[in-house]
């Protein structure tokens, strides 16, 4: 069963009166339980695709199905609720709530997914990420790698079917990068989540069994030079 199905997906903007196509993907899918890495240079539309799959951005044309539900047929509030329940999102720049501790950041993730804020489960997830000693620390008191692990724990806390990771190692050095990606993949496997990760770093991509070059997938940029 496909966890993500894209069909005739198009996203474009108008720039100085001229249409600028960002995404043009005729068909693509990710199967349930898969761990897929999309790679491509910066500015080629990888993040935009994740936004569309997460329901944060409505495409101009085409259909997007996630977990068998057609996101493009949903209203914004319904998409928000769907995302809250089924999709975990990890941003490149962590995007932790700065005024909340590591534990509270995870609990907030649970709150908006309409789950009971299970303190024990949140603590266990952070322990899984090697952060037992950081529960009550604020993001500013943690290293960048630790912050990203908190973000992973928060994404997993809602027990999603799909994790979308947008350049999750973009701000990390190579040593921490491989550690974070390994943690993310292991956690997704353990919790039964599918994983779609986008990155422009070859080291990150190389550990994935399924690696998809985004420039081939996205016809909008096929054959065009994009700044890295």
């Amino acid at each position: 069963m496909a966890i993500i199905e894209l069909s005739n997906l198009e996203v474009w903007y108008t720039l100085d009166g001229e249409p600028l196509t960002i995404l043009d993907i005729p068909a693509w899918q990710v199967d349930d339980g898969d761990q897929v890495a999309l790679f491509g240079p910066s500015g080629c539309g990888k993040s935009t695709l994740l936004h569309v799959i997460a329901g944060l951005l409505t495409p101009n044309a085409g259909t997007v199905r996630v977990c068998g539900r057609e996101l493009t047929a949903m209203g914004e509030a319904e998409r928000d609720r769907f995302r809250a329940r089924h999709i975990g999102y990890i941003f490149q720049n962590f995007n932790l709530l700065q005024g909340y501790t590591a534990l509270e950041n995870v609990l907030v993730g649970m709150t908006f997914s309409h789950q009971r804020a299970d303190r024990g489960a949140a603590e266990a997830l952070l322990a899984e990420m090697g952060l037992s000693h950081r529960l009550r620390h604020y993001p500013a008191q943690m290293s960048i790698g630790e912050q990203q692990r908190v973000a992973i724990a928060r994404a997993l806390a809602k027990k999603p079917a799909l994790i979308l990771a947008d350049e999750p190692t973009g701000s990390l050095d190579p040593v921490h990068s491989s550690g974070v990606v390994a943690s993310l993949r292991a956690a997704c496997r353990k919790h039964g989540c599918s994983l779609l990760l986008v990155s422009h770093e070859k080291d990150v991509i190389s550990v994935f069994d399924r690696q998809v070059p985004f420039m081939e997938l996205n016809r909008a940029f096929a054959g065009k030079g994009v700044h890295a």
Partner: protein, 416 residues
């Protein structure tokens, strides 16, 4: 983590602006609560207390001055009336009872009124309420009987620490420095139970004692025995009532006839007291307007604080939206914060307002004898919480709409 905890967390995060906004609302509400409470209690004091006295027969002069002196033990009586004229008025079929008195003496800052003994036994200080000497009512002893006996009001006894058997020398006058009747030693034989009226703040001696005090001269002493010559400050009049309890409208004729004479006038406290409020009304309304203005300004302060906090929080709200919070949820969060801040301010204002009333009540009681209570629930108290919720909702609406419009992608992520 519940949404309430997220709201409280946000308030804590912006504790300075939250605290300032709460304090400013508290200040506005405190002013409002105290002004309305003092205003209502003043009205109540000056209208309900007057209920015990249907009418006062007094000398020519300011009717308000007569009521303040006769009923509230304030001011001074503008003159005297003839005993014979009082007797004449008493014979009117509308007058059920009269209690004559002479004012003008004092002791330790409290008025000493010479009054007919029936005041202590028959007079109704409020409808159907008579003075009590029973210990369970806070009273002691008995009514005066002899020439050199006195009864103290509850407040007087409490403030001066009086006991039965204590004695005093009355001052001939009500101002500091007035002469003392040093040869007239009057003994307290009773303390009145608490009435909650200005009568608690006076000392009562027999009417005839007034004329017999040494130093008043032979002319006044003669008044004790010569009724033709006798004068009094005034008299409380009890007027015949209609079956439903309303004053007999014939009082208007009686009042007209008495007021036409050069001898005296009849003053109905409940007619005169509203004029007091028309005199002080502008002060009253100005204070209320200031309180309302301060509350409105504090509402603006709340709005500014919320907007400033929102500017800092756009990223947080966008992040919450990315985690699945709907636009309505973030709208509700910001609106709830506004209501919570307004309510905290309201509660603070309520406490502060009653504290102001407590302090004010102390000074008013010392100065005038009128009793105000910090525990009095005014219309401001009753309307406060719903009004403050509405204020919070109205003020929070603009920031909440801005939060509702917060775009996730615009505030969160770089596009790659």
């Amino acid at each position: 983590m519940s949404l309430w905890r997220i709201i409280l967390k946000s308030l804590r995060q912006h504790w300075l602006s939250t605290g300032m906004a709460v304090f400013s609302i508290g200040l506005g509400v405190a002013l409002l609560v105290s002004v309305v409470s003092l205003r209502e209690q003043a009205h109540r004091n000056f209208t309900e207390v007057g209920l015990g006295v249907d009418a006062v027969l007094g000398p020519k002069g300011s009717p308000l001055q007569i009521v303040l002196n006769a009923v509230y033990h304030l001011e001074e009586m503008p003159g005297k009336i003839k005993w014979t004229y009082y007797q004449k008025v008493l014979k009117d079929p509308l007058v059920v009872e009269g209690i004559p008195f002479c004012t003008g003496h004092s002791y330790a800052g409290f008025r000493v009124n010479a009054i007919d003994g029936r005041f202590l036994t028959d007079f109704e200080y409020l409808p159907d309420k008579h003075f009590s000497f029973r210990p369970e009512d806070g009273g002691q002893g008995r009514p005066f009987e002899g020439r050199d006996e006195a009864v103290a009001g509850w407040e007087v006894a409490k403030e001066l620490g009086l006991r039965i058997g204590n004695s005093f020398n009355p001052v001939c006058g009500v101002k500091a420095g007035d002469p003392v009747h040093i040869n007239d030693n009057i003994r307290f034989v009773g303390i009145l139970g608490r009435t909650g009226t200005p009568h608690d703040r006076a000392i009562y001696i027999p009417l005839t004692t007034f004329y017999a005090l040494e130093g008043h001269g032979t002319d006044v002493a003669r008044m004790a025995v010569d009724e033709e010559h006798r004068e009094i400050s005034g008299a409380y009049l009890k007027i015949r009532r209609l079956p439903g309890g309303a004053l007999n409208p014939g009082i208007m004729d009686l009042k007209y006839n008495v007021n036409q004479s050069p001898e005296a006038q009849i003053v109905v406290p409940n007619e005169v007291l509203p004029s007091l409020f028309s005199i002080i009304g502008w002060v009253d309304n100005t204070l209320l307007a200031i309180a309302l203005l301060v509350t409105l300004l504090s509402a603006l302060f709340l709005l500014v604080a919320l907007l400033a906090a929102l500017r800092e929080r756009r990223r947080d709200l966008a992040l919450m939206r990315s985690l699945g919070a709907t636009r309505r949820t973030v709208f509700g969060l910001v609106l709830s914060e506004s209501v919570v801040m307004a309510m905290l301010g309201g509660i603070l204002g309520l406490v502060l307002g009653h504290a102001i009333v407590a302090v004010g009540a102390h000074f008013i009681r010392v100065e005038t004898g009128l009793r105000f209570s910090e525990m009095y629930l005014s219309s401001a108290d009753v309307l406060l919480l719903p009004a403050i919720v509405v204020l919070g909702l109205v003020v929070g609406l603009v920031p909440a709409i801005q939060a509702y419009r917060t775009g996730v992608l615009k505030n969160l992520v770089p596009v790659s």
